[in-house]
């Protein structure tokens, strides 16, 4: 054993001891109570503190996840494993439910909805059209076809069909409800996946007017409501389904002149 070795060992051992002691002491004296979930999430993260998530280190990212300000898969370092772990931790809180899907409750596409006499010029976003007398369609309640929901979907699960009405690709949908929030006309609603009867119209116009604006509008005739034994209620010229009381067999689908009430056409079923 020579001098350098001893000094080296002593120095490093000493420094290690010193800082370990300091940290241990600090840990004890300076500990701050916080949401235990944060610590849990923090533990699941890689802890590289690289900042790749855009947050100030792993701990901050954990706080943001727990507070709902960051996505569980926001850590590029940890990749899918970490995302899964974090999602599991967070999932304990969220609980599980029946899968919900967005449903587009308007079928008044380009070939059904009546256009205005004037031609709209301006941004083709639904929200922007909505504030300029509702863009090109006469109907003031239906889908504008601008595709705000398609834009808003982070998973590419919505597409605009040829007729100018958005469709949901369930396989890609994660029920995030971004499309629902994006729609200025509230045409998109979240429904449990097992519901398949809807009134595909939001128009409250009186029968004559409704017929003038769209060929598939709910005319408000109320025939479905009368036959359904409470399964459909009329609200201001529009049939609204009360799913608690709904008995599909009572609904006279073939009596609805415009087909406003009907079954969900799932994209994949249309192939047959």
């Amino acid at each position: 054993m020579d001098y350098t070795l001893i000094i080296a060992i002593a120095t490093m051992g000493g420094l290690g001891f010193l800082f370990a002691g300091g940290l241990a002491l600090a840990d004890r004296k300076l500990r701050v109570e916080e949401n235990p979930l944060i610590a849990k999430v923090n533990d699941a993260l890689p802890g590289a503190n690289c900042g790749a998530c855009g947050k100030a280190g792993c701990y901050d990212f954990a706080v943001n996840i727990v507070e709902g300000n960051a996505a569980v898969n926001g850590c590029p370092v940890g990749g899918d494993e970490t995302a899964q772990l974090v999602a599991d931790i967070m999932g304990v809180e969220a609980g599980s439910a029946i899968k919900m899907y967005p449903r587009v409750l308007c079928r008044g596409g380009n070939s059904e909805a009546v256009s205005k006499l004037t031609e709209y010029y301006g941004p083709l976003s639904c929200a922007a059209m909505d504030i300029v007398s509702g863009g090109n369609k006469m109907c003031f309640d239906g889908c504008l076809g601008g595709g705000d929901c398609v834009e808003a979907c982070p998973f590419g699960a919505m597409i605009m069909n040829e007729n100018g009405i958005p469709e949901v690709i369930e396989e890609l949908c994660t029920s995030c409800t971004m499309c629902v929030q994006a729609c200025p006309r509230d045409v998109i609603e979240m429904h449990p996946e097992d519901r398949n009867v809807f009134v595909f119209c939001k128009n409250h116009d009186d029968p004559k007017k409704a017929k003038d604006v769209c060929s598939v509008a709910c005319l408000g005739c109320g025939i479905c409501a009368r036959k359904s034994d409470g399964g459909v209620e009329m609200h201001d010229n529009l049939g609204v389904i009360n799913y608690d009381k709904l008995d599909q067999n009572l609904i006279p689908f073939d009596k609805c002149r415009t087909g406003a009430i009907g079954h969900l056409r799932k994209a994949e079923e249309s192939e047959n």
Binding site: E119, Y121, A128, I131
Partner: protein, 321 residues
């Protein structure tokens, strides 16, 4: 649906208010800039020969081509008729040395459009002046060629000569100010003739396309900062007028720094920006390793524009002062 009996035969428009507009359009403004560059092009040809037109043509051609290609790949509308790519190409050509290698011109032009503009999303989103990005790239890539200056063409053929700034910096040789005013000196194509630049620049200021604040702030700044050093030691530091007329200052002040996209929005910001460019420029010219610094000064301040815009945001009407 009631209809007006005198309803016109075609569809009426439905748009948001306001329903009337002023006369200026982006396109017109852009073409005005092109028009204002004509004197510089003429001076380039006068002093450095008709061959310079090929440089301009190559630069413009590649700029326009690159823009079209990128727009095509990105499936965006090809908007060449707004003239912006043309301007970038022109500006780049005018700040290159005479008789510059055409392959380099093409490279610079591609870089200017691709890296300077399209990567940020195209016209309107670029942070830096595209032409200057192109030139900075060339300067960094081919420093020797970028600093080899031909003498104006009626002097002896293809003799390299230094720019007035370089002569002063490295050889302590001064240049007559009136020669610099006319432009019969070594330098980049469009940068030498102060008179031609002023002609185009003042035209743009007069019709309101270029805001006078930025060039004015730069001129005042250079006179101020340059003047202080000149007063301290007139032998070591040149007369501020020399800085105004030398190198790319005038061209930079009137055509580069005033680029709408990469300059501040607010009047106050424009003053800060102009003074900032002047300060950096004087620092580089007097103390840096390079004789010329307009390009770097403008690029440097371009980077600050988002911050300047943020901190010169005026209080809204009626807000606490």
């Amino acid at each position: 649906m009631a209809t007006v009996t005198a309803n016109p035969t075609y569809k009426l428009e439905l748009t948001s208010s306001p329903h009337v507009h002023s006369r200026w359009s982006t396109k017109q403004a852009m073409w005005m800039v092109v028009f204002a560059l004509v004197p510089c092009i003429v001076s380039a040809i006068l002093f450095f020969g008709i061959y310079q037109l090929t440089i301009i043509a190559v630069s413009v051609g590649f700029a326009v081509g690159t823009e079209a290609a990128i727009k095509y790949v990105r499936k965006r509308k090809i908007t060449l008729n707004d003239g912006s790519a043309l301007i970038t190409g022109l500006l780049l050509a005018l700040i290159l040395p005479p008789n510059f290698n055409l392959a380099f011109v093409a490279l610079g032009s591609i870089v200017a459009i691709a890296l300077g503009k399209e990567i940020f999303g195209g016209l309107g989103y670029n942070i830096f002046n595209p032409a200057l990005v192109g030139r900075a790239f060339l300067q960094a890539s081919f420093p020797v060629q970028m600093t080899t200056w031909e003498q104006p063409n009626y002097a002896v053929d293809s003799v390299t000569s230094a720019t007035p700034l370089a002569s002063f910096k490295f050889d302590a040789v001064g240049t007559e100010l009136n020669t610099m005013l006319i432009g019969n000196i070594g330098g980049s194509l469009g940068e030498t003739s102060t008179i031609a630049i002023l002609l185009g620049g003042l035209f743009l200021i007069a019709i309101g396309i270029v805001n006078y604040r930025i060039p004015l702030a730069m001129v005042i700044g250079v006179i101020l900062f340059g003047g202080v050093f000149w007063l301290v030691d007139p032998a070591a530091y040149q007369n501020p007028l020399f800085h105004l007329l030398g190198g790319g200052f005038m061209f930079g002040a009137l055509f580069m720094a005033t680029d709408w996209v990469s300059s501040p929005l607010q009047s106050k910001g424009m003053w800060i920006y102009g003074f900032g460019i002047a300060l950096v420029l004087i620092l580089i010219r007097l103390f840096g390793g390079l004789p010329e610094g307009v390009m770097y000064a403008i690029l440097f301040m371009n980077a600050f524009v988002p911050l300047i815009n943020r901190y010169t945001q005026p209080t809204v009407f009626g807000g606490a002062k």
